[in-house]
């Protein structure tokens, strides 16, 4: 087996950070979750390269980095935004696992769709676990690569890839399993814990008019500009928890959608909470884009999350079929296992139950 991948940062790009599924279970001590802004694209990327779905990857923002592979060999895939991914100058489509090896240069060109892409690599990006996560939270300099975005000259290492990683090469996530990123789709919203702090007119503004994403839009949250949302009383509350997607409305009446790097707690009224799948959709939109909000029921919101989980299961099933093609049984063993040979390497396969073939 060849060694795991090492990458040298030739150009860091606009904002390239290490992210995983976030730093959970410490919000009660004020530690924000952080993590990938477009969670579904991030997870599908990991499945494509043979990783566990929450392995650390690089979140690439708009203008991507240039990375030279200095050691090892791995499969890599870019998902999410179309930021002109290329290997040695040749364009490589998103959602496709490709092999990269020492000497290759991974680069990006001009963005053509979206804002955030995920560069997933078999073995995952190997940075220290901090409070259970590898995600970068730059405001407190926590996690990731020294708590910050990548800089020129940094050296990144990847972990040891899972068995059969090599067989992921060429695997493509089909369009029907990718998240829908229609830039004009309304953001679906559940009523927020302080919906009763707004007038009917305020609610009509929020759900009935369009808002433009302002220039204050980053990993912490997106501030919108549009018709001010009217409160029925004070705009401030006793500080409480801020969930992902919370739509805070301070006294100025302009909504702010709170995203991955949100503070754990805050003191503004929350009119609604954007469905988690649509926080990912929002993360792919840029300042100036127009968004609208539409109210949905909890059942619908949960079904959307489940739909994304089914898409990931679907891609894992495809990966299993893709990687097993050409496998040859070598030796049956008692107690529910057998040895098969794939590309000249023997693997043990275990099962719990067998069924009769009709």
């Amino acid at each position: 087996m060849s060694g795991s991948l090492a990458l040298s940062v030739q150009m860091p790009g606009m904002l390239t950070t290490v992210q995983d599924s976030g730093r959970w279970s410490h919000q009660g001590q004020g530690m924000p979750v952080a993590g990938a802004m477009d969670m579904q694209s991030f997870r599908l990327g990991n499945i494509l390269v043979g990783n566990e779905e929450n392995a650390a990857a690089l979140e690439v923002t708009l203008l991507g980095p240039t990375l030279e592979v200095t050691e090892g060999e791995a499969v890599a895939a870019v998902t999410g935004a179309e930021l002109g991914f290329k290997v040695n100058g040749a364009p490589v489509p998103n959602w496709t696992a490709v092999t990269v090896r020492a000497g290759d240069v991974l680069g990006f060109g001009s963005p053509s769709f979206g804002c955030r892409a995920y560069l997933c690599i078999s073995g995952g990006v190997d940075v220290p676990l901090v409070m259970g996560s590898r995600s970068t939270y730059t405001r407190a300099k926590v996690g990731g690569y020294e708590g910050r975005a990548l800089k020129k000259g940094d050296t990144l290492r990847c972990g040891e890839a899972a068995p059969l990683w090599r067989r992921c090469e060429g695997l493509v996530c089909p369009a029907e399993l990718r998240p829908s990123r229609d830039p004009s789709a309304p953001l679906r919203v559940l009523p927020g814990p302080q919906e009763d702090c707004f007038t009917d007119k305020g609610l009509a503004s929020f759900y009935g008019t369009e808002y433009a994403i302002s220039n204050s839009a980053d990993r912490m949250g997106y501030r919108m500009d549009g018709e001010p949302i009217e409160h029925s009383g004070p705009a401030d509350i006793i500080s409480d928890a801020i969930p992902l997607g919370a739509v805070q409305v301070p006294g100025h009446g302009q909504p702010i959608v709170m995203l991955a790097d949100r503070q754990t707690t805050g003191g503004y009224t929350k009119i609604g909470v954007v469905c988690s799948v649509d926080t990912s959709a929002l993360a792919q939109r840029l300042p100036g884009a127009v968004v609208s909000f539409t109210r949905v029921a909890l059942e619908e919101a949960v079904e959307l999350v489940r739909g994304e989980a089914r898409a990931r299961d679907g891609l894992r099933a495809m990966r299993a079929a893709w990687r097993s093609s050409g496998a040859r049984p070598v030796q049956a063993r008692p107690s529910g296992s057998a040895i098969i040979r794939v590309d000249g390497v023997e693997h043990a396969v275990c099962w719990e139950e067998i069924e009769e073939v009709k």
Binding site: V130, I238, K270
Partner: protein, 247 residues
């Protein structure tokens, strides 16, 4: 609008439910929040992600793919009523925070003295005489929202916030006192600094303060400050956490 009835269960998105116990910063309300947080963490459930206590509410985070939201609503709805105010918690845990008052790291001690009409020594004495209750953490990792500062020390924030305040700075803002857990901008009146890091990602635990604990400020001299600072840097410092019977 009809009066709100507490406790109440609120939705907060597809992966979060909130139990509210009231609409005030109140120790009895906060103790019920803490008790429910402990019960939820102890119970656990498939898909459980986090329980976040704040002044008067508890947020419970979960993965809706794994957790059954409807069943969870029913369960929390029952627990929020049956959970009393910190039943059985007669022991209070007190974290002792050594503070070097005044000097370069407490340049606003004179402001507070001037505003309150007290001598600087008296400000220090009163600030360290009362234990403060940690209602919640938030704002930055390890930042505690404390209650119980001697009301005679109340001083408004600075008119011009500072761009960078060192971690460990102890300040006063209105009725509140607090400790900056990481270097950040801010407008609090700085009266001193603790060498004990409230947040250190390379330490286990990175944050030792939890909602429901108490903070006792203890004035120290330069020599002790330096000793604690070097122990903190060498990661050998262990905070003094006392367990006392509550009065």
């Amino acid at each position: 609008m009809p009066d709100k009835v507490y406790p109440r269960l609120l939705g907060a998105g597809d992966g979060c439910l909130v139990v509210e116990y009231g609409e005030a910063i109140d120790m009895d309300v906060n103790r019920r929040v803490a008790a429910l947080a402990a019960s939820v963490r102890e119970m656990g459930f498939p898909g459980f992600l986090d329980a976040v206590p704040t002044y008067r509410s508890l947020a419970v985070y979960f993965d809706p793919v794994v957790a059954d939201v409807k069943a969870l609503q029913r369960r929390l709805g029952g627990m929020m009523v049956s959970t009393g105010a910190g039943a059985g918690s007669s022991v209070r845990r007190v974290v002792v925070v050594p503070v070097l008052y005044g000097g370069d790291d407490g340049t606003d001690l004179e402001n507070v003295a001037a505003h309150t009409g007290l001598a600087a020594d008296e400000v220090v004495r009163r600030h360290s005489a009362n234990d403060c209750y940690c209602y919640m953490l938030g704002f930055t990792p390890g930042f505690a929202y404390l209650g119980g500062m001697d009301p005679s020390l109340e001083t408004p924030r600075l008119k011009n916030p500072r761009e960078l305040i060192p971690a460990g700075s102890v300040g006063i803002a209105g009725k509140q006192t607090g400790i900056y857990s990481i270097a950040s901008p801010g407008g609090w009146q700085l009266i001193g600094r603790t060498p004990m890091m409230m947040f250190d990602q390379d330490r286990d635990p990175a944050i030792f303060l939890e909602a429901g604990m108490w903070v006792r400020f203890r004035p120290v001299d330069r020599a002790e400050f330096d000793a604690v600072e070097s122990a903190t840097a060498g990661r050998t410092y262990r905070p003094e956490i006392l367990e006392e019977e509550s009065a």
